[in-house]
């Protein structure tokens, strides 16, 4: 539990709080229900797709794919969805006046958090106004809402495609539950110097490796029971990784593994220079790990770690 003790020391000095406050923070972190917000009830996805969108009519060949059959629709990239709590996707074609073809995919991701996670996976920008947020890029519009991730696309984009995609996404959104909650872990990211829309929410080490290649081995012991968010900060492209474990013992074990494998035995609190010349640190707070990666200097790593601890304290004290 060395990491935890060091984390406590640093937290105490950095935040100038009493030992009592820190203890309360740990207790809150254990009690705080920040896991995946799951909704178990089954839905008929096809029923959620509108029969008509503007001048476009849904065709009769709507298909659905589940966790096992997703590869029949998407190739190996189906693993992206399976790395979350993906349940099913409905795929519908709409033929519009003039012959344009619209495709609508509605994914049941099992929880708001995982709908947000898959939305964040390749997001470059984000707009508000549809569901919890949407991104329109070329011929594809994606959005997340409640436990659903939606994608609408046109085969051939032209000047009117953007309007059509927005109309389609709004029509689908209208038929879905309206409330959408981002993962709590995302809200625990400090906002200072955060690069907008850079946060990526995931669970497994393969997904983390997609966003930042840490190691072939599952150094952080990530699996379907863990939640992680990776975000980019200025200066440079410093990364902050927050990981939430089911309990502090698992967090402690993962911290030890990270320090041994990535930090080559360093204690994690003091930023360590890696072979890349960038600095990394790792700190445990209860069942969470705060990890700084790719920092251009010791100072920026320390500053970001400090920001993260403060944000943790704010967030956890709010319950």
């Amino acid at each position: 539990m060395l990491a935890k003790e060091n984390a406590a020391k640093d937290l105490l000095s950095g935040m100038r709080t009493s030992w009592f406050c820190y203890s309360a923070l740990i207790v809150l972190s254990v009690l705080c229900s920040c896991g995946k917000q799951r909704h178990g009830e089954a839905v008929n996805l096809t029923d959620l797709l509108p029969p008509q969108i503007s001048s476009c009519e849904r065709q009769a060949d709507t298909a659905t794919y589940d966790r096992e059959t997703i590869f029949d629709y998407i190739d190996g990239a189906g693993e992206v969805y399976r790395s979350y709590d993906f349940r099913e996707v409905a795929v519908a074609r709409y033929v519009c006046e003039g012959g344009a073809m619209l495709r609508v995919e509605l994914f049941d991701m099992g929880s708001d958090a995982d709908a947000y996670g898959v939305f964040s996976y390749g997001r470059e920008q984000e707009e508000i106004g549809i569901g919890g947020g949407y991104e329109l890029r070329g011929s594809v519009l994606s959005f997340w809402q409640n436990r659903f991730y939606g994608c609408v696309s046109v085969e051939e984009s032209d000047a009117s495609s953007g309007e059509l995609l927005l109309a389609a996404a709004r029509a689908v959104s209208h038929r879905l539950p309206q409330e959408s909650s981002r993962p709590s872990l995302v809200d625990m990211l400090p906002s200072d110097n955060l690069v907008p829309h850079s946060d990526r929410y995931c669970h497994r080490h393969q997904s983390l490796n997609y966003h930042f290649y840490l190691a072939r081995e599952n150094v952080l012991h990530l699996d379907s029971t863990t939640n992680a968010v990776l975000a980019r900060y200025q200066p440079g492209s410093t990364l902050l990784l927050l990981v939430e474990y089911p309990d502090s013992a698992k967090a402690s074990s993962a911290a030890a593994s990270f320090m041994q494998t990535i930090l080559l035995g360093a204690n994690g609190i003091e930023p360590t220079a890696l072979a890349s010349g960038k600095f990394a640190s790792c700190e445990q707070v209860g069942r969470y790990l705060i990890i700084v990666l790719e920092s251009p200097s010791v100072q920026s790593a320390l500053s970001l770690g400090e920001l993260a601890r403060k944000r943790f304290a704010e967030f956890l004290s709010q319950g």
């Binding site: 990239a77 011929s139 594809v140 994606s142 984009s157």
Partner: protein
Amino acid sequence: MSKPNHLVTRRDFIKGAGCAAVGLAAGLPVLAEEASQEIVIKSRVVLIRNRDVVSGSGKIDGALVRQMLDEAMVALFGKDKAIDCWRQIIKPTDIVGIKSNAWKYLPTPPEVEQAIMSRVLEAGVARENVAIDDRDVLGNVVFQRATALINTRPMRTHAWSGVGSLVKNYVMFAENPPDYHDDACAGLAKLWELPTVKGKTRLNILVMLTPQYHNVGPHHFDKAYTWSYNGLIVSTDPVAADSVGLKIIQKKRQLAFGEDRPLQPNAHHIAIADQEYHLGNSNPSKIDLIRLGWENDILI
């Protein structure tokens, strides 16, 4: 102290060992054999481009594809005529599976498939002994009996493996493709050890006519992230061909984004195919790259 490596290019090897040996080698067994003798064999890769092969509207000129493939074969095998190169790698008694790629947004173009098919038939293979397939290779009777494979697909970015590559194109030979998805598909080269595949690949053609250099979301496609590169990469070594294609994709990303934006994930299955599975050469110093045709914006 180890002995200094004697550098032998594949061109030297062709000259020295004769064409039949190369035809049998298909890039792979020879590498292993030569490695044990501490002789460095370079993999020859031909990159051929034609400015007019893809029209402004995206239509592919089949006649130009055939011409490009012929020129690439001559450069690859060092013979005067393309058909002689094909006869070197394909015997009339062969049963030939042309492993294509059917991804709906960016499949292997039919013009490429037909160019291969016509040359295989000209090499003397009976029509009923040639098949083109992707998703149903395990159920295809020609592929089940195949004695020779020709591997062809377009290169594109991929949300789980970094890029869709020639090495990856054999995933449909797996009984359960997800078995190969671990660690960003790091172990894809294991596919090449499957009995239906091992030792059968005679040629690899990486289609770089309109490659895709960026994804939209986990699995979507937008033509805006493709460009008319108008090229084919041809080699007996799938790893070397993929490495050349990967460099072009990375360079295109750098130009398009105005910054060095690495692939996500980093397509390490190509380097791992070399370093751990010894399927071919990924190191540029072990690749003998021959550039033919249109040079504008070649990116490598």
